[in-house]
Symmetry: C2
Subunit: 82 residues, 2 copies
């Protein structure tokens, strides 16, 4: 399994409840794609959301996000971490 | 203390050793700015590096990165997380 960081733009004003609900929507369908969303961070001022996941591919990450109703704008495989 | 995600572009080909050394360089000076760098993730293919920190301000995050020799291209306060 590889690790991915995906980024959503245009989420200006996102609330804690909305972030929680979006994350729960991912968790509800992720297993069917072999993905696990580990963490997410949001900057409501710039409207940027970062999601960290373990997944078999970037396409699998996107399929989960699409099914949950919030397509990612960028998906990066983060092969290195500290 | 607030949490920040900062992003570096143009790091194409970054190696595990280089990421480790860059993170150590941040850790070596962060205390003087009241910052703590928690994690970093790198995508060597696109040259993107994400750093997660706790800090008193985005300026303090940038000062640490500048002193360590790698200025960030974007710094976002991530007020929300799951």
């Amino acid at each position: 399994m590889a690790q991915y960081m995906d980024v959503h733009h245009g989420m200006t004003g996102i609330t804690a409840d909305q972030l929680h609900q979006a994350h729960q929507a991912d968790l509800a369908v992720e297993r069917e794609e072999g993905v696990h969303f580990q963490r997410a961070w949001a900057d409501p001022d710039s409207g940027t959301v970062y999601c960290l996941s373990e997944a078999p591919s970037a396409d699998a990450v996107q399929r989960v996000h699409e099914r949950a109703g919030h397509r990612a704008d960028e998906i990066h495989e983060v092969r290195l971490s500290v």
